[in-house]
Amino acid sequence: MFRILARSARTGIVTDPRPLAPRLQRGFPVIDFRRCTACGDCARACPTGAIQIGAADAASPGPSPGTTRTVSLAYGQCISCRECIPACPEGAVTMGSSFDLVAYTREQLVHRASFDLYPSGRATFRQEESVPGPSLAESATMLAARIRGRFGRSLHVRQVDAGSCNGCELEIAATTNPVFDLERFGIHFVASPRHADLLLVTGPVTRNMEIALRRTLEATPEPRVVVAVGACGCSGGIFGEGTYAALGGVDRVVPVDVYIPGCPPPPQAILAGLFVAMGIREARSRPEAPEAGATSA
């Protein structure tokens, strides 16, 4: 007993007072569209299809009709494998410094730009495109109205693994360790959905977990919030969507209020996402570009 006390005294307080401070080395990739030529090398290097080269968009024709191209990066699908960075011949893709992206819709996690395509084959940046659907501020207002300020000081969370590889579970469990200690923020993991305010769901939702996930949601009292965690929970990730075994993102099965991308998102990002769901933090759905002079490695 004395040894246990002595050990605790020797260890002291290890809890990080500011767990959200962005201290990680490498975050999500960022495309500098002004240097991009829409060649598509990054899209071919991307294992999950997070980077897409879009066809002509009839609504906004280029120099001659039907000669517009779009480039989009969907952070919901990004597994931070960094394959796109060396693939880019222009050096337009760099490692961003942010890892803690949070959004309310899948579309908010998409970064898209349009390019004018010339007959010579050259493509030049035209503009960044807005994504359809509500903005982050509109979504925040809608979510706040639905939960009517009931969460904020205390939140009971039921975690549901609907198909994950267990990487997200490791990082969710890490939020309870002495360094992150999420209980100090009034967040508790509970053993039953009947005790829960929020379902923290990882994916991809499998065919064999679809029914269990629906029933878990039904067992959760209103008002309830569903948070999708990880690239697979947000979009199906590397396992894809609509295969015989994996249905895809959590929103293919139950409505999702908050998305936390990453493969897996680190504990800091999961905490940030829970704070957004509680309405005590603003969501940020775009990574910051690397600081000037930062290397692209």
């Binding site: 294992p47 590889c165 002495p178 993991f189």
Partner: protein, 527 residues
């Protein structure tokens, strides 16, 4: 190699032409379909062989047959042997070996589930991987089954669990959604009050079609799928896949990459073992050491993030080498950290095993006997805790393991304590391996770039002894050099039957700590 072929040929009584050695450490034997049981008996009795994997392939397009493959580990010959037999599509069945060799039980049932090839003579040929709402006649790994087919659910039919009768005897259902932050699976306990009479497992809730997915993705992207087979074994599975592809194309990673791969795999072993020992303490409500263990783990994974750019070491292994280098400063920092970790970890283990209330819960709990472990094909750390002395790092060295001195800890008890002690002693050995590797990091490039295309019609086996046990990847290409079959064998698939065997006779409150002492992956099992 010739002596090995001769020994195998003699044991099996086959003509010399039936056995070939496509590459070091890997033998191939073609046998007649009817000879499979006899070959298995001879291999086990004559050479002490252990079944490492069993699967089928659909070769109807090229060869007009299915094929059944058994991968055996020959410990004395230090080689793997793949025994292949054709299966006639007009008579889709093969000779089962499961009645005599229970290690083949789940493997053969999975072949029925995914290929529709029936094991003749299997004592219990019921589905193991298919759920009750899966219709008959849909074989997912056959080539004519598209990976995006939407299969309608069959209504009704609740799973027929084994009934229990008697006064005070009843079922306790648990899952698939569990009370903690863990993966989904259904456990059905038949209990008489507190003591468990038997445990039935219902897994494959997180089946993601991973093996089919490998056939769809470009082979270079397969390494990212391999990292997601079981998130806690990202390095182990990435290495097994990379080894398979490298052996297929004859690509040798540079020396520095081979050393760094050892560093990555041992770091993965340490963070998982430390975390599991803490989780065993959690499950007996001994919270101070549990919190200390999670602190040690967190400090290590955050250092991994700084040194390698990923907390769980994802994206560090590449086909042909590694992507993450370690500078001199990082190497010194890691060595210093390991020194502190070793001291902290040793005092943590001492604290645990000196506590009578803790050892009271782990001594004699969840015993898996040596015989049961051997017969069921249990592997990895669970096997070593049940007295089976096997470790691929020593017996079939991959990467740079043949350059280091280490011992393989083996415990005889087969209980929770034995599995805890194997972990504790392996952490000590891993730190020793890391010190040797970091002290002698060769200077070389990090990558031998692989060719743009894989050779056509070839197959290779890759393996890695990850923290839980051996990860095996067998890959095969078609006429265009695309991956046409990837068989993934996670140690969990071989160890779940061992867990089901270790639980009966214990009381239900001891189930969590027994389960945690194995800490099997649901995702790795279900794929």
């Amino acid at each position: 190699m010739n002596a090995t072929i001769e020994a195998v040929r003699e044991t099996l009584g086959l003509p010399a032409s039936a056995i070939s050695a496509p590459r070091p450490g890997e033998l191939r034997a073609h046998v007649e379909p009817g000879a499979l049981p006899d070959v298995a008996d001879r291999l086990v009795a004559g050479l002490g062989a252990r079944l490492a994997s069993l699967f089928a392939t659909d070769e109807r397009v090229w060869n007009a047959v299915y094929a059944l493959h058994q991968i055996w580990l020959l410990p004395r010959q230090r080689t793997f042997l793949r025994v292949t037999s054709r299966v006639d599509p007009a008579h889709p069945r093969f000779m089962s070996i499961a009645a005599k060799h229970p290690s083949a039980n789940w493997f053969e049932r999975e072949v029925v589930d995914t290929f529709g090839l029936v094991p003749v003579g299997h004592p219990n040929p019921t589905p193991v991987s298919l759920h009750d709402d899966w219709p008959a006649g849909e074989w997912t790994l056959r080539k004519d089954f598209p990976d995006d087919r939407q299969v309608t659910r069959v209504p009704g039919s609740f799973h027929p669990f084994r009934p229990v009768t008697g006064e005070g005897v009843f079922h306790v259902p648990v899952g698939p959604v569990h009370a903690g932050i863990i993966e989904p699976g259904h456990f059905r306990f038949g209990v008489a009050g507190e003591p468990v009479l038997y445990l039935q497992l219902r897994l494959f809730y997180v089946h993601k079609g991973t093996e089919k997915r490998f056939e769809r993705l470009p082979w270079r992207h397969g390494i990212f799928l391999a990292e997601s087979i079981s998130g806690d074994t990202a390095v182990g599975h990435a290495l097994a896949f990379a080894h398979a592809i490298e052996r297929l194309i004859g690509c040798e990673p540079p020396p520095r990459a081979r050393y760094l791969r050892v560093v990555l795999l041992e770091l993965e072993r340490i963070y998982n073992h430390v975390s599991d020992i803490g989780a065993i303490a959690t499950d007996v409500a001994f919270s101070v050491p549990a919190a200390h263990a999670q602190l040690l783990r967190e400090r290590l994974v955050s250092l991994q993030e700084r040194l390698f750019g990923s907390r769980l070491l994802r994206g560090t292994v590449a086909i042909g080498g590694v992507k993450a280098d370690l500078e001199a400063a990082g190497r010194d920092e890691l060595l210093a950290h390991l020194g502190r970790l070793k001291a902290d970890f040793e005092s943590l283990v001492t604290l645990l095993i000196d506590s009578g209330s803790f050892t009271d819960r782990i001594d004699g709990t969840g015993v898996l006997s040596t015989e049961a472990a051997r017969d069921l094909g249990v592997t990895g750390l669970a096997a070593r805790a049940s007295g089976l002395d096997e470790d691929l790092r020593r017996d079939h060295p991959h990467d740079a393991y043949d350059a280091f001195g280490f011992v393989v800890p083996v415990e005889e008890g087969g209980d929770v304590r034995a599995r805890l002690m194997v972990r504790a002693r392996e952490v000590e050995q891993s730190i020793g391996i890391l010190r040797q590797a970091l002290g002698a990091l060769p200077d070389s490039p990090l990558l031998t770039p692989p060719p743009a295309e894989l050779p056509a019609f070839s197959a290779a086996l890759g393996w890695a002894e990850a923290w839980r046990g051996p990860c095996l990847h067998w890959v095969e290409t078609d006429a265009y050099g695309a991956l046409t079959r990837v068989k993934v064998t996670d140690p969990s698939f071989r160890n779940w039957p061992g867990l089901a065997r270790a639980v009966p006779g214990n009381i239900i409150p001891d189930f969590p700590v027994i389960n945690k002492s194995f800490n099997l992956s649901y995702s790795g099992n279900d794929r």
